[in-house]
Symmetry: C2
């Protein structure tokens, strides 16, 4: 932890109040919650004494090594999270990018207030067996209203890892149905799968990318390659892994060399698919994130994704676009892959986090043909859909995608300005919307920056080895962005001093 | 679907009102919700016209082959579920055994009514990173207050499948830490795991049982062997599977031959563990359900589980007791494995369903030593804990475990009486508490019974090939039991006629 005295923090923070909104471009800025703090307020090191006390208690019950601080969610408001010690932080991590509208948003509180909304909270249904009468309407009016263009099928799930697991399952099932030319499974297939052996348990594979992070369960971690703590000691699937393009930023200044690097990655993809086919362990599906959001905020160009889809299509490989972290507006479009102008939708688009419910959209060819293929006790949670409705209506009414786009441009411009001033320390500013990142010289300097930012009242997180993960909510404005940029610059200055 | 005219149903149902409580043994019976129907009321075939209409609409969006009917959760009350057509069914399936206190329980509605409870619903935290200030207290006062004896560590998860996946992970991690004698991982282990290869991705295994059902994700389905629809076409782990004892019921009348069969199964377990060790793919853990609750309601004796634990301990194999379906009181004890008088707790006890939150208790040896080993975005949901508190308080205050025990005895006695009358058609009545089952001659007759019961206003489900799955809520009384028994007998009579 970087030692920063309260004295060095307070003069800085006192400036915050001067940063009142001046250039409002969105109705949200004018009508933001009355209770939102005007800036961070830091009263202790973070974690402070009360967080440390609570940490000590929790550590008796479970491993707490990942805990940054304890939060007071009652007091948190809008873009600001309040910790157990009363520190007020501008939250640009937002619970691993999973809070869409900031804390205690009035629309969500209003949703809780209405007794007619309580039924799904106290009677969680087994959606695959006895869904509520209004389930189809909830799916249509809410989830399908924001479906990626051309996608009309949707399956809810409880969390992100289950979403990916079931996305993988859907690709396997579709692959094997095609292998059988649509014929029903043979008795041998049905009996052999009960013992986990072929032909019923098919020896088919999923292609994933270095730096990917798709989840934490055994299947999902098998297609993840971002961090050893996520993978060590686990039984993993021996599936092909292609090297994700390692591009130079800004992308627009390095088009030619980046194209070569993307071509290299695509050739590797094609080679691996071919080799797997020859080895009799064909690739059923390919998982990719529009931006590798935990493995280093690695971007690739629209061309890369267009070509990847082409290769997949040519080889009968389904394409799963993992939008769990990038979806629900944080790139300025509702789905990040809309930036890629794909000629047709991916086969599966996975969502979670800001969507409040996990799940995935899928094309008709991915639809299971029998009962109980994509199934579990709950397969989702209608109470999350009740809250999602309020989120989606707010995004539409407040035109939050416009806000994210304009704030994102402002944020990225600010990051590039800082980068120009401290080129030895901070570089590769990049982003889509407010899903932004910058790199530091190494892991240790990056972690110092995160701790320094936190002790100055800005909460962020790491991505990959040396990148900063910026994941503000959808109500993050230029005003908040300016607060962050100023704190970032002073943190960088202090660390370099 | 068995054709039953409304005329044949109504005379039967009119008797229901005569079955008023006379032998109240529990405060719940005296103070049951005023709104609970006095008996089933069937106004259409099930699914009825409105359910079929809704099914048709939902089928445009996703596969609906597992849907039995659409439910009106606003109108459902206590032990009765109301469907979209207004049919009132005594619910003995309760959303795959996941509704603890029946529908719209006043204590749960009261919980929703309090504004001080709303924060966790609208601000779902990343519990591993910034838990709420009261998180330790919630874990202590609620989850740990019902922890299996001797267990003091707990990890929450979002759903049952994620719970099992992370239970498997905890066993793998503990196994490999022991292999390293507690030393930190080597650089080779850390780098190789990123490519899914040894030594970092260990080639270790989990032993499971035929007939087991632990979940639906790739790891969880690999240890499940109950139904081909759960497994076909998926890439599965080639892990050892032992044959679960196939016992004769009632257990107390067949002790000697059952003991032999259990010994056979235990020998197989020991043999497989030894063989795996010789093959260099050691068994890190063993998953078992106290009652195989989806694969045929298969029971084994306390002796079997005691010996299984002994074998596991002797071989350094962790024991995971999957109480997702059996826990939270439905066997008359809070955890079903309490019936087994194990000399020490299992290494992991998994919960879900009626507990509203997924998760697992674990012994200190299963605790991960590094950050981000057992992790995901949410790792649970405090809003479910708010509701769980009301559930646990109600179980205690209403002494519902006593109710489940006495109702269970009554229900099992009634099943055995019917069995004696129709020995060619219904047999093997068995159960712990109200977690009961009976067998029918085959799959098709069993399914006829389920449909027949449903069309007479009792909702149940299948378990395994030919068993009936009875999973009432914890507020199911002798009165409800009598209603069920009468409907069952008349259904059996009709099918046999």
């Amino acid at each position: 932890m970087t030692a920063i005295s309260r004295k060095t923090i307070y003069p800085l923070l006192s400036k915050r109040v001067n940063l009142a909104p001046r250039t409002a471009t969105c109705s949200y800025v004018r009508r933001k919650f009355s209770g939102e703090p005007t800036g961070p307020r830091v009263v202790s090191q973070i974690p402070g004494p009360e967080s440390l006390n609570l940490l000590n208690q929790l550590d008796k019950i479970q491993n707490t090594d990942a805990v940054a601080f304890f939060a007071d969610y009652d007091k948190s408001c809008g873009n600001y999270i309040v910790d157990a010690d009363g520190n007020i932080m501008l939250d640009m991590l937002t619970q691993m990018a999973s809070i869409p509208l900031g804390y205690n948003h009035p629309r969500l509180m209003e949703t809780m207030r209405k007794p007619e909304n309580w039924t799904p909270f106290v009677n969680r249904p087994s959606l695959g067996v006895s869904p509520p009468s209004d389930w189809t309407q909830l799916l249509k009016k809410d989830l399908l209203s924001v479906a990626p263009s051309g996608m009309r099928q949707v399956q809810t799930m409880s969390c992100g890892s289950c979403t990916i697991e079931n996305g993988l399952k859907a690709m396997f099932i579709a692959h094997e149905r095609r292998r059988r030319s649509g014929a029903p499974p043979t008795p041998e297939e049905m009996s052999s799968c009960m013992c986990n052996i072929p032909p019923g348990s098919a020896d088919i594979t999923i292609l994933s990318f270095s730096g990917a992070s798709h989840g934490w369960t055994l299947g999902a971690q098998s297609v993840s390659h971002a961090n050893w703590t996520q993978k060590l000691d686990l039984k993993s699937m021996r599936w092909p892994v292609a090297t994700f393009p390692s591009l130079r930023y800004p992308l627009e200044d390095h088009e030619k060399e980046n194209r070569q690097e993307e071509q290299r990655s695509l050739s590797e993809v094609a080679d691996k698919i071919e080799r797997q086919m020859k080895d009799g362990r064909p690739v059923a599906g390919c998982c990719v994130e529009p931006v590798q959001s935990a493995g280093g905020d690695n971007h690739a160009s629209p061309w890369f994704f267009q070509e990847l889809q082409k290769i997949c299509k040519q080889n009968g490989v389904a394409l799963l676009m993992d939008e769990i972290q990038t979806g629900c507006g944080s790139t300025g479009k509702f789905w990040a892959h809309e930036h890629f102008s794909l000629p047709e939708p991916p086969d599966i688009v996975a969502f979670g986090k800001k969507m409040l419910t996990g799940g995935f959209y899928y094309r008709e060819n991915m639809r299971p043909q029998e009962a109980f293929r994509i199934f579990n006790t709950w397969v989702g949670d209608p109470s999350k859909m009740v809250l999602l409705r309020a989120v989606l209506n707010t995004i539409r009414e407040e035109r939050l995608l416009n806000l994210v786009s304009s704030t994102g441009v402002h944020l990225l411009k600010g990051l590039r300005e800082i980068e120009l001033k401290y080129p030895a320390f901070i570089r590769n500013a990049r982003g889509l919307g407010t899903l932004c990142s910058v790199d530091f010289p190494n892991n240790s300097e990056r972690d110092k920056v995160i701790q320094g930012l936190r002790n100055r009242g800005v909460n962020t997180g790491p991505s990959g080895d040396r990148s900063l993960r910026l994941r503000p909510s959808l109500i993050f404005t230029k005003v908040h962005s300016d607060i962050f940029l100023e704190v970032l610059e002073s943190t960088v200055k202090d660390i370099m001093a």
